[in-house]
Symmetry: C2
DNA sequence: ACAAGAAATGAACGAAATTCATTTAGGCAC
DNA sequence: GTGCCTAAATGAATTTCGTTCATTTCTTGT
């Protein structure tokens, strides 16, 4: 009946904690040494290891493969053991999210112009979460309180806005607006190729259909060779929108003319 | 079979039509009279009814309550019957999505200036999907081919862009950029009150923390009385970003000077 | 009239998250 | 030291969901 446990199944050759040798039969390497019940002398799990294992799983199998069972298996542990460290699967997602935030590039805010810094930050932010779209619903609603790296990221961004002279009351709104655009654009990266092909509905929507045709045509012709990344459709939309947002935001508050 | 309907075994396995309510389970329509197996003389289901029932369920219980069982129960049908009309639950979401698209206000594109029309469209688009954020991952990746109302919506928007004189190759990118911002902003609407409260991390992020404080302060003071809606934090961020995007996009292509 | 197929029922199945009782180990209080 | 409280593990069970399948019954096209 309930056969979802590592009883007969083994780990995916990632670990074998205490090398307890059997009588004389080392049947197969990947056989689980089977920890006996009860608290182990040395703690097997902590949130750090859980985070790492989750990231590895996501890398190998995508979010589809990120199940509590799979996570437990990878850590050489029973699924229920995870619940000593996280209250629910959502907590695992939060761990992953906060880990990822450290990978967002905020370096520009210390060194470059506001425009350049925002652009660099936004691209890297989008790139990170384009590979982790299932986290977006989580982030968007997640109180920042227990996400230290996320707060650190916001602090660096805010510093860049302050340095540019932005009025305090508008900074958070501006960041939120940029972030909203970034999250939405991250989804767009994952969209399939012909997402806008109208097919049988083409006659219903002549203007839109030709616009779609022109778009892909111009995109195909525009191979950017000089070291810049080659732009896909989602990249050119992101570029257009980001530049518009940046220039629009720059003009949204009364700067003293230099 | 016996002539009397065996009310002992219900087809649900999860809950029972009679008054025995376990958790909440608001008593759905009257208790259905039990249909015997086999094809009924008159078809009970079609995609139209499924869509309506799904929308009602979402309205009453949110997306959490939208399960195939609940949907079937509401339609007076066994869960498996749904699969004669949709291939999977995702199809139900697509039905709902396309239905909703008809509610997005594109009327401005026929009558107003491009700026006003985009603004009206964007606000209504965001408002619709702020109440349906679970659809966003679906929409963002969904080929438009079998979503007729979605195509109709795009056609109206495209017409507005064409009328304004936009270059064909950039129209789709501009729409995608706006849409990305809209989807991201829809999530933001659902964010809890103190999402940016840094709590114990406040000392780590002094600039960000004060910016957050100033934001809510200015938002609280700014009650808009004259018929306009009172702006919450997510509204003012949306407003700021949308205006920036619109003006930035307007300046992104070489219009002939009037 | 009859075969094909559409549209229901009802009974499973399998995956997944989560809970619970139980076992064991470490760290305090006394 | 002894004893208790709690943390961290196992193993089994529970619940909920989406989905499939065999079967029944009815409609429709030839």
């Amino acid at each position: 009946m309930t056969a979802a446990f590592p009883a007969a199944t083994q780990h995916d050759g990632a670990d074998s904690p205490p090398a307890r040798s059997r009588r004389q039969e080392p049947p197969v390497p990947p056989v689980m040494p089977r920890r006996r019940a009860g608290r182990p002398s040395k703690a097997v799990l902590d949130t750090e290891q859980i985070t790492r294992a989750a990231l590895k799983l996501i890398e190998l199998q995508g979010y589809k493969g990120l199940t509590m069972s799979a996570l437990a298996r990878r850590l050489g542990v029973a699924p229920s053991a995870l619940y000593n460290h996280v209250a629910a699967k959502a907590d695992v997602l939060v761990l992953v999210e906060d880990h990822l935030m450290a990978g967002v590039d905020v370096s520009g805010f210390a060194t470059q112009s506001w425009e350049s810094a925002v652009r660099r930050w936004a691209w890297s932010y989008r790139d990170v979460f384009a590979r982790h779209t299932p986290l977006i619903p989580v982030i968007a609603v997640l109180p920042v309180t227990n996400a230290p790296r996320t707060v650190t990221m916001y602090e660096a961004v805010t510093a860049g806005f302050v340095a540019e002279g932005w009025p305090q009351e508008r900074i958070v709104d501006a960041i939120v607006a940029l972030e909203s655009f970034i999250f939405g654009s991250a989804y767009d990266v994952t969209a399939p190729e012909g997402i806008f092909d109208t097919g049988a509905l083409a006659t219903t929507a002549p203007l839109f259909s030709t616009a779609v045709g022109r778009r892909t045509a111009s995109a195909n012709g525009a191979g950017d060779e000089k070291g810049n990344r080659v732009l896909g459709p989602s990249d050119s939309a992101f570029s257009l929108g980001l530049d518009a947002l940046i220039s629009g935001l720059a003009g949204s508050w009364p700067r003293t003319r230099s």
